[in-house]
């Protein structure tokens, strides 16, 4: 995951140079491209490895609710993705000659909400696509259209924060992020049992 995000940052760095104009919001876009695409590689493996090893049935057989299995998977993917994002932000600040430390708290909040949103829906789609032969393709096809509101909100909010604007300016985007996080978690709660059944 980290290697992939590093590669994305390097490619954009070579393409655009290291002194981008923050007003264009391009920096935020590059950052989230690295987050989402790298996160997707981790998401794809969360259920497919269980299926391949034949341990998923062992998990389902345990006396815990399917929601617990979902939450455990989500927390695992979320933590790995967050670690990747912290490393990516550090590399990003070096490569793009910028400091994120003044914006660390609001940026952290946006990254937390954005990551929660795309990992929640990604975990569900990872479970759905795990049995498919072309699981990686299927995961991408299912994941990207649905996660668009979360990604757009995250990019917009990150762009505003990196421009040095106040947290109040990003409240509308944060509200959208919180709303989609809740919707995705609720949908996961309601559907995961049925996804695990077959």
């Amino acid at each position: 995951m980290c290697l992939f995000s590093f590669l994305v940052l390097i490619i954009f760095n070579f393409a655009f140079g290291s002194s981008l104009n923050f007003d264009q919001g391009m920096i935020a876009g590059i950052l989230w491209v690295a987050f989402v695409f790298s996160g997707l590689t981790g998401l794809g493996r969360s259920f497919s490895m269980e299926r391949d090893r034949g341990t998923l049935q062992g998990l389902i057989l345990c006396p815990v609710s399917p929601w617990t299995i979902f939450l455990a998977k989500l927390i695992g993917v979320f933590l790995f993705t967050t670690v990747m994002e912290i490393i990516t932000i550090f590399i990003f600040s070096v490569l793009y000659n910028t400091t994120v430390f003044p914006f660390l708290v609001p940026l952290g909040l946006i990254v937390f909400l954005g990551t929660l949103g795309f990992t929640a829906i990604g975990t569900i789609f990872s479970a759905i696509s795990a049995t498919a032969k072309a699981r990686d393709v299927l995961l991408s096809i299912l994941f990207f259209p649905i996660s668009v509101p979360v990604i757009i909100s995250s990019v917009k909010a990150t762009g505003i924060i990196l421009n040095g604007k106040s947290l109040q300016m990003v409240f509308p985007w944060l509200k959208i992020l919180v709303a989609f996080d809740l919707i995705f978690l609720l949908v996961s709660y309601l559907t995961f049992e049925y996804i695990m059944e077959e």
């Binding site: 034949g54 341990t55 062992g58 057989l61 345990c62 006396p63 059944e197």
Partner: protein, 242 residues
């Protein structure tokens, strides 16, 4: 428990797309019963076991085990059943101890470390406690899979081809374990191709053919050769004398 039957399956049908795996299965077992399921490949033995364990939902029909509805009380049901399936459900990069520790924690097993030591002794893997499962032979993995299935001391044991990969010693140890299980009044359902082993270990036998139970009888008083003849008649394929 609300019902006199420990396991009640009524009108079970299971379809995978256009393929019908189970056809109108009715099965009733009392506590302490042991049932051997026989049938050729594709007869529906594994599917029936998976439906009874609520790993698969039936297309129609219902399963009730120890008073729990398989569809609605899955967590409670899973607490009282153990399954040995084709797959071992083991994590290859974890050690034998870590695998049992993981599953034991999921089942909320009390005094887990003591129980793990007990189970590893039972399945003859105490010397390999700290070896990773990926270095185990198929037989050793099967032994550990047996340990995983009995770790939480289930009331009902489902066995799907449980002797796969076991060496002679492993088979004998496992047979002892099944008999011990039966002596404790626990229920055993075993799918097998081995007619002799099946009728020696179980007091009832069922023959499945194309998803239907075509024979279900008490076999305690049936000789092995008589049962072989019944099997041949039902399935239409000759089998070697027992």
């Amino acid at each position: 428990m609300n019902s006199e039957h420990h396991i009640e399956a009524r009108g079970l049908n299971k379809k995978f797309g256009y393929k019908t795996a189970l056809r109108n299965i009715d099965l009733f077992l009392k506590e302490g019963d042991s049932l051997a399921l026989f049938g050729p490949n594709g007869a529906g033995k594994s599917t029936l076991i998976q439906v009874l364990c609520s790993l698969l939902q039936p297309t129609s029909g219902s399963v009730r085990i120890a008073g729990y509805e398989a569809r609605h009380d899955r967590e409670a049901l899973h607490q009282i059943i153990g399954l040995i399936a084709h797959q071992t459900f083991l994590y290859p990069h974890l050690t034998a101890y870590e695998n049992l520790k993981f599953y034991g924690s999921m089942y909320g097993v009390a005094r887990l470390d003591v129980r793990i030591t007990e189970v590893l002794n039972l399945v003859g893997l105490s010397d390999c406690r700290n070896d990773t499962v990926q270095n185990f032979s198929r037989g050793m993995q099967q032994r550990l899979s047996i340990g995983r299935a009995i770790l939480h001391d289930p009331m009902i044991l489902f066995l799907d081809e449980p002797f796969t990969g076991l060496d002679q010693q492993g088979r004998e140890d496992f047979i002892k374990l099944i008999l011990q299980f039966r002596d404790q009044g626990k229920t055993v359902i075993m799918a097998s191709h081995d007619l002799q082993q099946g009728i020696e270990l179980c007091d009832r036998a069922a023959i499945l053919k194309a998803g239907k139970i075509v024979y279900l009888q008490d076999v305690a008083h049936i000789s092995k050769n008589d049962f072989r003849r019944i099997y041949t008649q039902q399935i239409g394929v000759n089998v070697l004398p027992l």
